[in-house]
């Protein structure tokens, strides 16, 4: 999944970005409110991690203006403001979850998963599409009852497709989900990962239609 991290502290930002990347997310990081607004406006993000005490524009103001523009992207607030009134204000301004600093990387990752899951209408951490079973918490994939080890990007691509089985995602959409700003993208990266998935799972599991993109076959 592609996340936008909004955090003004360099150390926290670096560490959180790195930790979330290890979870297989593509993470872009901006340091102030105005940059956050500009970055979020393009709509490529699956989730916003928003600090509140930001330079140039406060996090709550950013959140309100995003919601006012009709952006539905899930928002997880990460802040040192722990008063109940702050939490209420944050959630009421349109946040989906609220995490108080200092937080745990594992908890952050779990909350990110939970928010993403709710966004896609699932209640559990496990995704099932036919014989395919994806444990999004452990990031493990089972095919016909046996574990299939996948690389981080392969997993991210599969999860993106499994999120809405049958629906098509274009190559550029998949690239946006898989890669952050800093990542170098080879021109055939998506094809390479799709090829690997077909080899490891089943050649017919991912369909490719010219002009439409890629989709996971529902009945596979």
């Amino acid at each position: 999944m592609r996340l936008l991290l909004v955090e003004d502290d360099a150390m926290i930002g670096t560490a959180a970005q790195q930790g979330l990347r290890q979870e297989g997310h593509a993470v872009d990081w901006v340091r102030d409110g105005r940059e956050a607004e500009a970055a979020a406006a393009n709509g490529v993000y699956d989730l916003l991690l928003l600090d509140l005490g930001l330079p140039r524009k406060d996090g709550l103001a950013v959140l309100r203006s995003l919601r006012a523009k009709g952006l539905q992207v899930p928002v997880l607030i990460i802040t040192a403001r722990d008063a109940v009134s702050d939490r209420v204000a944050g959630l009421d301004a349109g946040a989906d979850d609220y995490l108080v600093k200092p937080f745990d990387l594992d908890e952050l990752a779990a909350r990110v998963r939970a928010v993403l899951r709710r966004q896609s209408g699932r209640a559990t951490a496990t995704l099932r599409v036919g014989e395919l079973e994806i444990d999004t918490a452990a990031r493990q994939v089972r095919w016909k009852g046996r574990d299939v080890p996948l690389s981080g990007r392969e997993y991210a691509l599969l999860e993106a497709l499994a999120d809405r089985p049958g629906a098509f995602l274009t190559r550029s959409q998949l690239e946006e989900r898989l890669y952050g700003w800093d990542d170098e993208i080879a021109s055939n990266a998506v094809e390479v990962h799709v090829h690997a998935l077909r080899r490891k799972l089943d050649p017919s599991i991912i369909r490719n239609v010219r002009g439409m993109g890629y989709s996971l076959v529902k009945g596979a």
């Binding site: 150390m11 670096t14 600093k101 937080f103 745990d104 990387l105 594992d106």
Partner: protein, 430 residues
């Protein structure tokens, strides 16, 4: 002893003393008047007896039955034989001299008037005790109202003072009700004028106390909040180090963790420095040379400046003696130089000390990005960090500088550097 009891005792003692003085005055006045009056009577009686030219035998007749008379009358013949004595049972002193005299009789003092007529000596005498008794009675009559009034006054004083003291008691209760959470001023409306200065002084103390308390609370809240950021970073950095899958990742994570710890340590040190600079604590006064301090600060940070590729120079050729707190001024310079090095990407940092008029000036000038004029006041606020603040700062440096300057009566100004570039921090000592 309570004020009530003390007032009672002293007021009653004063009333009693007043009564006694009045009685004494009355006593002496009355005796003096009685003396005049009775002397006159003595004399009149003697003259009457003389003018009547009684023969000695006639005296007895005339004065027969006058034994109740206050006066003792004696008559002597020319040869000194006693011809008549009205009160033989009284031993009146004998004739000593003509005119008035006071003589000592067996029963006390007598007032005597003697006169001569055709060889007869007529003496009229009266006991002095009569006069004293009269004066004493008058004095007693004067004292009596005081004595009667004394218990009444005592009661009145006791009750009135008690009533007035209730204001004190209610004020005391009002003070007792104050807690660190509620330090609102005590009402001065119902308080008598004498106690008002106390209540007003108390209210002043309460206000100062409240200010200091809320300042402390705010500081602790701010400090706790500010500690969250480095602690969050530390927690994340530690977890990354734990998750590291190979030596390279681990080394990188440990380096980040080290930076995080250094930042947390610096923040705690700065918080401590600020806490030690309690505005109410008296500043130490050592005789120090700012030029020496400036050179020492440059020396201490020389290695760091060299690492950052910055020229760090002291410009303090002449001694600049002032009275001040050495440790605090070292902290001030350390913070200013630290800031200058932190914010200056390239160029030079100059530390100057010089005399100016009767005062002294410390200056730290850099060639960094300066601070926008609109931000120059706010950067002195605790935990305020500028928009472009580099990472690792605590937001406390300039707050500490300002606090130290204030304790020395010095003024901190943020000015443009030479030819409008960079920042020049100027600390002017009086």
């Amino acid at each position: 002893m309570s004020i009530r009891r003390r007032l009672l005792v002293w007021l009653l003692a004063a009333v009693l003393a007043g009564g006694l003085v009045a009685a004494g005055v009355v006593f002496f006045q009355a005796r003096s008047e009685a003396n005049d009056l009775f002397d006159y009577q003595l004399r009149q009686l003697a003259l009457t007896l003389r003018d009547r030219s009684y023969t000695p035998s006639q005296f007895a007749q005339v004065l027969q039955g006058e034994e109740a008379l206050d006066f003792a009358i004696q008559v002597w013949g020319p040869d000194g034989t006693e011809l008549y004595e009205s009160h033989p049972q009284l031993r009146v002193p004998g004739a000593v001299q003509l005119g008035f005299s006071t003589g000592e009789g067996a029963d006390g003092q007598w007032r005597i008037f003697a006169i001569q007529q055709r060889g007869l000596t007529i003496q009229v005498a009266q006991p002095m005790a009569v006069r004293s008794q009269l004066a004493f009675d008058a004095a007693l009559r004067t004292l009596l109202p005081f004595l009667v009034a004394l218990p009444l006054m005592g009661l009145l004083i006791w009750r009135l003072v008690g009533q007035e003291m209730q204001v004190l008691e209610s004020t005391a209760r009002a003070v007792a009700r104050r807690t660190p959470e509620s330090l609102e001023p005590i009402a001065t409306r119902a308080v008598p004028d004498e106690i008002q200065p106390l209540v007003i002084a108390l209210n002043g103390l309460l206000a100062r106390l409240g200010g200091a308390l809320s300042g402390q609370r705010q500081f602790i809240a701010d400090a706790a909040h500010e500690l969250r950021t480095p602690l969050t970073a530390l927690k994340l950095q530690l977890q990354l180090a734990e998750r590291a899958r190979d030596a390279g990742e681990r080394e990188k994570a440990h380096a980040m963790l080290g930076e995080g710890i250094a930042r947390a340590v610096r923040l705690v040190e700065q918080l401590l420095a600020l806490a030690r600079l309690d505005p109410d604590a008296p500043a130490k006064r050592d005789a120090i040379d700012l030029a020496v301090l400036a050179r020492a600060a440059v020396q201490a940070q020389a290695a760091r400046a060299a690492d950052a590729g910055l020229a760090l120079e002291a410009e303090a050729p002449d001694p600049v003696p002032i009275d001040g707190d050495r440790g605090a001024l070292e902290t001030l310079l350390d913070n200013l130089v630290d800031n200058a090095l932190r914010y200056t990407p390239a160029g030079r940092v100059a530390v100057r000390a010089r005399r100016e008029g009767r005062g002294a000036v410390l200056e730290v000038e850099d060639t960094g990005p300066s601070i926008a004029p609109g931000e120059r006041q706010r950067v002195f606020d605790r935990f305020y960090r500028g928009e472009s603040a580099p990472t690792g700062g605590t937001g406390l440096g300039l707050a500490i500088v300002k606090r130290i300057a204030e304790r020395h009566g010095a003024i901190v100004e943020l000015l443009d550097g030479a030819d409008g570039k960079g920042l020049r921090v100027r600390v002017s000592f009086p």
